[in-house]
């Protein structure tokens, strides 16, 4: 049974910090196909279009029918643990630092047999639930949870914690306290066991009474000057908190409707890009290196970076052209950031929302996404180690349509 994680002791300033180490990262190009399911929490395995055979490990040709039309499809998650072993010592530097790692051979219900990392609570030869996760190197691995039961500290399993970015005992920076997502997010992070939540607020001379009131009622939450449009402001906060930010959640958001031909769009573009895209770049320049250097720093290591984005980062939106373009630029930088942060095992997650329940989206028809639902999605991304989450019906439908037919998606955006 997994024991509850004890509160990490304060860092000994006389002891050298662990440098980031990564698990072996070599995979075939075909194996990267598993990442689609890992990114958004689906259990997608390679499947032969000809005979329906589920193939694992990933191959270039179906071993059953020699068919070459292979894709990735949702697959039943169940399986039976056939055998197991515990790796106590290894020559690999990454695993040498880890406690004993439990691995097993699982006969999956879909017919494939696979080696999986095992949760400590998995019963010997019992039923398990499988998932595809990304390890610290960003490569796909199979993880098995017990199908039923499990102890009260499931999320504290050391391997699971490594494959996710649990908020428990971590210190978390929310970049824009004025975002409607901020207050529900603060509450949910604290409920998930965060040690401290730092909340950035720009232009503090403008009223922010609701946020101040909410923060005054909560322990372990503090407000800090942070304006993503200002290099000095971002740098100053990084000087103060960069060494203890374990998770950074970028909630900065600047929606202003407007067609390309409308007056004032050039200046609006500057504002939108300054906050969304260049703002992310400023954060990356000031916090990225510090977080990367702390990603091996024990239970309070730097673990994740979350960006709250719009689904319109994927497609032009004539009714809000500048906003969509700025979101697209932010998404591009966020994907590059993921590549940079993978050098130290810091996860980068993008949470995509449709229009939110907030005044700027008032004239858009429902369904809209409640800010609390966005906060919940951020928690899901962290606790399940996901890379891309689409929140709500509109976003999920948008994602499916975009994967199915990008041109159809482009045309639908013309309708607003």
């Amino acid at each position: 049974m997994t024991k509850g994680l004890e509160r990490p002791q304060r860092k000994n300033p006389l002891v050298r910090s662990n440098v980031p180490l990564l698990p072996p990262g070599a995979r075939s190009i075909a194996t990267l196909g598993l990442l689609q399911g890992a990114a958004d929490g689906r259990f997608m395995l390679q499947t032969c279009a000809g005979c329906g055979h589920v193939i694992y490990p990933v191959r270039d040709i179906c071993p059953e029918c020699l068919g070459q039309k292979l894709g990735f499809a949702d697959t039943p998650r169940g399986g039976v643990l056939v055998s197991e072993t515990t790796i106590s010592i290894t020559a690999d530097p990454y695993f040498r630092r880890r406690p004993p790692v439990r691995q097993g051979l699982v006969s999956a219900d879909c017919g494939a047999t696979m080696i999986a990392l095992l949760h400590r609570d998995c019963p010997a030869e019992g039923r398990v639930t499988l998932s595809v996760k990304t390890d610290a190197a960003g490569q796909p691995v199979i993880f098995a949870h017990p199908e039923t039961g499990g102890g009260p500290y499931m999320e504290d399993d050391p391997v699971w914690r490594e494959l996710t970015a649990q908020p428990k005992f971590r210190r978390i920076l929310i970049t824009d306290g004025r975002s409607p997502v901020a207050i529900p997010l603060i509450r949910q992070l604290l409920a998930a066991g965060a040690d401290a939540v730092f909340v950035g607020v720009s232009d503090r001379w403008k009223p922010h009474a609701e946020l101040e009131q909410a923060v005054s009622e909560l322990d372990c939450v503090s407000l800090h000057d942070l304006d993503l449009r200002d290099e000095r402001s971002v740098g100053d906060l990084a000087s103060e908190l960069g060494g203890k930010t374990d998770i950074l959640i970028n909630t900065a958001h600047h929606f202003r409707p407007g067609h390309m031909f409308d007056a004032g769009q050039i200046l609006r573009a500057k504002d939108a890009f300054d906050i969304s895209a260049v703002g992310l770049l400023r954060l990356a320049q000031s916090f990225g290196g510090a977080m990367l250097g702390r990603s091996g720093d024990g239970e309070r290591s730097a673990a994740a970076w979350v960006n709250v984005l719009s689904i319109w980062s994927h497609a032009g939106l004539p009714a809000s052209a500048v906003y969509a373009a700025a979101q697209a630029a932010e998404l591009s930088l966020a994907q590059s950031l993921r590549g940079e942060m993978s050098q130290g095992g810091v996860r980068v997650c993008n949470v995509f929302s449709g229009p939110m329940e907030e005044p700027w989206f008032e004239d858009m028809p429902p369904p809209k996404v409640a800010p609390a639902a966005v906060a919940k999605a951020v928690l899901k991304a962290l606790t399940e180690g996901l890379e891309d989450i689409y929140i709500g019906d509109i976003a999920a439908e948008f994602r499916d349509r975009m994967l199915r037919n990008p041109k159809e998606t482009e045309r639908l955006m013309w309708r607003g």
């Binding site: 001379w205 403008k206 009223p207 000057d225 449009r229 200002d230 290099e231 202003r256 200046l267």
Partner: protein, 259 residues
Amino acid sequence: MDVLTTLAAALGNSQIRLVDLTRTLSPDDPTIIMPPEFGQSWPVRIERISRYDATGPSWYWNNISFGEHTGTHLDAPAHWFTGRDLPLNTVDTMPLEPMLAPVCVIDCVDVSQKNADFLLTRAHVLEWEEIHGRIPAGNWVFMRTGWGDKTGAAYANLDAEGAHTPGPDAEAIRFLIDERDILGFGTETIGTDWGQGGHLTPPYPAHNYLHGAGKYGLQCLTGLEALPATGAMIIAAPLKILAGSGSPLRVLALVHTTA
């Protein structure tokens, strides 16, 4: 001695001193805000090009950006629609003479500290004149409120109704223009108008009347306590921005030390 030699001597022997009436141009200083559906002025931004580092090993310099109406700044007549058709109404074309001019300072500190919504009226101006004499034509009139000592939220003093900062009413401004022919009006607050000036008739009367009459505005001043009620000279030379409606500037005062 000629006048300039006398001035130089007075500056040299501290009979006359220079006083800085300018707030530091900083990203942290509040700026005017409009309802968010309107275009917004850029705040002050300072971004480093290099500081003796890989991007410039021997030199330090920054790129700066800001709106024309940020920090301590001058409003030219073209800033408001009422002054749009006047000749020489922008900072690049305005005459030089207004850049060096005497000032009358109306002390409203006590009432403004007690009431952020204090309105300067014609009656207040006349009361001031009873003590200090008639305001001469071609003078700046500065409304001293102590607001220049404030920073951040206290300086902007915003609530759900908008800004609450002292300023002139429409009648006072009309009086200063029509009957005193002032050069312009200066304040320590973010604008030359009352914080709730949008609710006056006409809205924003200081902007409306001053610029319609070809007068100037100076705002975000500080350090006005160093000025006598009369007798100081103001140096206020805006940047020569092509067709600029205003400009941040360094505002200096020449003050007799005996004042």
